[in-house]
């Protein structure tokens, strides 16, 4: 047991599984995911909510896990990149990224893929402008974005065709 430092117990659904954790109020979601749950697919870069590397989905919507306290996911559903597809069976979004060469170093990719998942859940067939607008907060320092946009346009058209 810890000494005198106030903690609270939280319970949430993580990648489809009910989990619980004891956290300090100030603990950030990204640290709890990476350290307590050993899910290191969620990346930290800017640490101030602007780059999107740490994007996870909470109740289906994108969130900066670097800029929220873990206590805030109490009772909610969190999806990290580990919850999407398997090494044998990639999620269609991951597949499209591979097919279009939409990643180089890969550091932005987990956040980017989850942001795309959030977008397609809200809007199954976004236009290229809508894709660019939605992904504005996910930065990539390698690809120049063109191939990422191509991958998502491809997905959007496929969804559109059913």
């Amino acid at each position: 047991m810890k000494t005198g430092i106030p903690t609270l117990d939280i319970a949430f659904v993580l990648n489809g599984v009910r989990v619980s954790a004891t956290v300090e109020p100030r603990e950030l979601l990204i640290d709890v995911l990476r350290e307590k749950f050993e899910l290191s697919g969620t990346k930290r870069s800017c640490d101030i909510g602007v780059c999107g590397a740490c994007t996870v989905l909470i109740d289906g919507l994108p969130a900066s896990s670097c800029s929220m306290i873990a206590a805030d996911v109490d009772g909610r559903e969190v999806l990290t990149i580990e919850g999407l597809g398997t090494p044998q069976g990639l999620d269609p979004i991951q597949q499209a990224f591979v097919a279009h060469g939409a990643l180089q170093c890969g550091f932005c990719t987990p956040g980017m893929v989850l942001a795309v998942k959030g977008l397609l859940a809200l809007n199954a067939s976004p236009t290229e402008d809508e894709i660019r607008h939605f992904l504005r907060g996910n930065l990539c320092r390698c690809t120049g974005y063109v191939k990422i946009i191509e991958a998502v346009v491809d997905l959007a058209q496929r969804k559109h065709l059913g």
Binding site: I5, P6, L8, E24, P25, R26, E27, L28, D31, D47, I48, G49, V50, G52, T55, L61, P62, A63, S64, S67, M68, I69, A71, D72, A115, G118, L119, F134, R136, G137, N138
Partner: protein
């Protein structure tokens, strides 16, 4: 970096939250989306021993159409909700559009309108248009409620008239007269606007009575009264000519300063461009990229 240690309170009623604020005073801060507060706490620019998470308080939620055609917006409404809410899209489409363009999707999902207004970071989109629409804010304290124009609520950079014992509960946007039009246009290289201008036009004379507010220039939105006077009641084409003629003079003396988002001169120039764009957009004219 981690914020300094704090105690987290999660009241589920307004009364409990107000009691906590009374008890802890300046050692406490209300906390909602955290998009600004948490970043400041992580940077250790601010520090609170008690964080009062107000997200469970039902009284602070919801968007309701008012009898006069306006909107009553719960302080906890996120920018994402406001961008997509059918009532907002119908009654205040310009405001829905503004909300859809704030920062990035993660900020829009987490960030609340109440938090945005209370934090009073000058480089923000909502205040200029809400001031132009004549919005009022309702503050609750354990001794009662008060309501005041948003324009008087924001005192300056990171500063409002809200006391440590009060919570912003609702934002009231009055209905606009038949035929009124509104638009907001902003520009910036970073996530926050370097400058933004809101235009609201209400039918008057052969044209409109105009309200213009420039945001992000200084601590509080600035009314561009010179433009308003020059354009009042003129037919639209003439009003736009007056705007172009007067814009330079209208921005010359507005308070602003050099900052990360641009020099004072640059921001003043942006306001002349954005005033024209927002006026044209309000009139439903095709936007001419100047």
């Amino acid at each position: 970096m981690l914020p300094a240690r704090f105690e987290l309170h999660r009241p589920d009623s307004l009364a409990t939250a107000l009691a906590l604020l009374d008890e802890y005073g300046e050692d406490a801060s209300p906390y909602a989306g955290g998009t600004e507060l948490l970043i400041a706490m992580k940077a250790r620019v601010v520090r609170f021993a008690h964080i009062i998470d107000i997200k469970r308080i039902a009284e602070l939620r919801g968007i309701v159409a008012r009898d006069d055609g306006g909107l009553s917006i719960g302080a906890l409404c996120s920018h994402h909700e406001l961008a997509n809410d059918p009532i907002v899209r119908k009654h205040a489409p310009a405001y829905a559009r503004l909300s859809a363009n704030i920062a990035n999707i993660r900020v829009r999902v987490a960030g609340t309108l109440g938090g945005n207004l209370c934090f009073a970071e000058p480089h923000a989109d909502p205040p200029a248009l809400l001031c132009a629409l004549g919005a009022e804010v309702c503050l609750a304290g354990s001794r009662g409620m008060r309501k005041l124009p948003l324009q008087d609520f924001i005192l300056g950079e990171l500063s409002t008239v809200r006391t440590d014992q009060e919570l912003l509960v609702r934002i009231e946007v009055p209905g606009q007269p038949e035929g009124a039009r509104a638009a907001y246009r902003a520009f910036g290289h970073l996530e926050r606007p370097a400058a933004g201008v809101a235009a609201v036009a209400k039918p008057e004379g052969k044209g409109y009575a105009w309200r213009f507010f420039a945001g992000s220039m200084c601590g509080r939105p600035t009314a561009l009264t010179l433009l308003e006077d020059a354009m009042a009641g003129q037919p639209p084409a003439e009003a736009l000519e007056s705007l172009e003629r007067t814009a330079q003079a209208a921005v010359e003396h507005i308070e602003t300063y050099d900052d990360l988002r641009g020099s004072a001169d640059y921001k003043r120039h942006l306001v002349t461009v954005l005033a024209l764009r927002s006026a044209r957009a309000a009139l439903g004219l095709e936007e001419r990229v100047a």
